[in-house]
Structures are given as C-alpha cells and as structure tokens.
C-alpha cells in the first residue's frame, strides 16, 4: 500500500536525532512487548502479516507513536484477527490491569 510507512524520499520529517549511549530498551514495557512478539509461535503469523498490520495503522497515529507502540498495536490487532483472543477479552484484560494497578497504588 502507498502508506505513511513508505517513507523513502519524504521531506519534512525533521532531523535524525541519534541518542548518545542509547539503551536497548527505554522502558520495561518495551522489553515486554519485544519479548511477547518474539515468543509467539511463528505458526500464528508471518513477518509480512506483522509488517502489514503496522502499515495499516492510521497515519497520524503511526507518526505520533513510538516504535514499540507500533508493535503493541500490531500484537493486539493481529492476535484478534488471527482468532487468538477476542476484542472483549482484551478489553477485560485492560480493566483487570487497571484495577490491579489501582489496588496496588
């Protein structure tokens, strides 16, 4: 698709900002997202399905979210599309996580 991901030659994307002594991950949730994607058996999805799920992100969202947020979006959408869980189950997990966080706070 002629999507926002196809960035080769685009102007106006701003300067490249290399980070000095960049860590491999910037937050613990990035570690978890990376590991989750890697741990899911390869028979569930292939790399092109993975890439295309990210390419289908809404363009402004694609540009305003970070790399591992793309992966998180991809995990949620692709696993539902692949029938691994239902949207309702994901929403239940969100509210459980929220109450757990409130309880421990």
């Amino acid at each position: 698709m002629n999507g926002i991901h196809d960035l080769g030659g685009m102007h106006g994307m701003g300067p490249v900002n290399p980070e000095t002594d960049e860590p491999v991950f910037h937050a613990d949730w990035e570690r978890r997202v990376f590991a989750l994607m890697m741990a899911i058996p390869g028979s569930v999805y292939n790399i092109d399905e993975f890439r295309h799920t990210i390419e289908r992100m809404e363009a402004a969202e694609y540009l305003s979210t970070s790399y591992y947020e793309h992966w998180l979006h991809c995990l949620e959408v692709l696993m539902i599309e692949k029938g691994q869980f239902e949207r309702a189950e994901l929403e239940a997990a969100w509210s459980n996580a929220a109450s757990a966080a409130n309880g421990s706070a």
Binding site: M1, N2, G3, I4, G9, M10, H11, G12, M13, G14, E55, R56, M57, E58, A59, A60, L63, S64
Partner: protein, 226 residues
C-alpha cells in the same frame, strides 16, 4: 517538497466522511480565522505560495492531526512573523493577556489594511494570477511531454505521483508566475501553464482502468518533450 501534503495516491488515509448539512464554519474562531486570512491576503501581506509552503512545512504529525483552520492559524502566525509584521514576542504578549486588546503595536506594518467598504468590490472583482508578459510557450496542444523528475526541498506544484510520467498537452492556459520561485521570494519567473492529460495506466500501472485519465495543470519548467 515531498511532504505529507502531497497526498495523491496515498492509501490508508481512512474513509471520506461527508457531513450532512455541513455549516460553512464549525466554530466562531474558524469564521474569524477565515476573515483574518483573507483580509491580510487582500492587503498584500503574503502570497498564496508562501502561505502554502508554510502549511506544507508543518511536521507530518501536526499536518495530519490539526484541522484545516488550525493549519491556517499557525501558518498565518508564522508567515506574519517571518514577514516582520509583528514579532514572536508581540504574539506571546497577546497570548499572555488574552483575551486582551490585541493591540501589541510596533509591527513593521508594510501592508495597508483593507477597509470594510472595499470588501465587496475586492472580493467580487478578484485578481487573476495571470501575468501580462510576452513569454513564448515551449509546447503547444498535442505535444507529448514528460513531467520532470524534480524533488525540490522547497515548494512545488508538481505532485510526486506524476513525476516521470508521460502525457499530452491539451491546452495552453497562458502565462502565470512560477510557484517554486514565488514561494521563496525569488520572483515570478513567468511562464506558460498547460493543461496536460495523463492516462490512468501511465500513472498507476496496468491495473488502472483503460480509458480513465488525469488533467493536471503544469508549468513549462515542469515539463520536458517526450
């Protein structure tokens, strides 16, 4: 520039959502914004190519997440500061006092404000962008041309999806100023503008409908003989 505004052929931009009984403006600030912009434009404070380039220069993320009149607001602020009509400090002072008198004073003020009684004659009269200059055309109707593969970082009205594609001159529209120079204070560079016909298959490949086509206005400097 190969910016986010150059959307011809992009996928993934979502559905077209027409609004039933859409009003002309959706908020009072939009009304004010439209009037401010047109009044300042009529007063000659900037040309439309300069303003377009300011919009194109928003970051892609801003461009996609801001509304249309938000583009106008932030770009009008920027263009008027760039043109010396007021300073960033003037603007910030107004923000700090908002809603204040709006009179920050001290601007360069090169433009003449448009009086209210001139609105009807000015806007009903309009002003053609044609230039009365005796410039020879490079092409004539029927000529086969190729849109140049240019990729300037500045303003251009040659969309990416047509670069390198072959078409046919349908009509010579006459002489106009050249956006690529007018956006950057480099003069009018007057030249002919043509209506050029491009086959859909030339543009998008064999999967496009066989008889469909695009008619796009192109300046002499955008074209080579095929």
């Amino acid at each position: 520039m190969n910016g986010i505004h150059d959307m011809g052929g992009m996928h993934g931009m979502g559905p077209i959502n027409p609004e039933i009984d859409e009003p002309v403006f959706h908020a009072d600030w939009e009304r004010r914004m439209f009037a401010l912009w047109t009044a300042a434009f009529a007063a000659g404070m900037y040309n439309d190519n300069e303003f377009r380039f300011a919009i194109e220069s928003r970051s892609a993320e801003e461009y996609l997440s801001e509304s249309y009149y938000q583009h106008w607001l932030v770009c009008m602020e920027k263009v008027l500061i760039d043109k010396g009509q007021f300073t960033r400090a003037d603007l910030e002072a107004v923000w700090a006092n908002a809603p204040g008198t709006g009179a920050s004073g001290g601007g360069a003020g090169s433009g003449q404000a448009l009086p209210a009684d001139q609105v009807i004659p000015v806007f009903m009269g309009g002003a053609s962008a044609r230039i009365d200059a005796d410039v020879a055309p490079k092409f004539k109707a029927g000529d086969a041309v190729v849109a140049r593969n240019i990729n300037p970082a500045g303003h251009t009205r040659l969309p990416r999806y047509l670069r390198g594609k072959g078409g046919t001159i349908e009509k010579d529209h006459g002489v106009f100023g050249f956006p690529d120079s007018m956006a950057h204070g480099e003069g009018e560079t007057p030249q002919h503008v043509y209506c050029v016909r491009f086959d859909a298959r030339e543009v998008w490949g064999e999967s496009a409908p066989a008889r469909d086509s695009f008619y796009v206005d192109m300046w002499d400097d955008y074209l080579d003989p095929a």
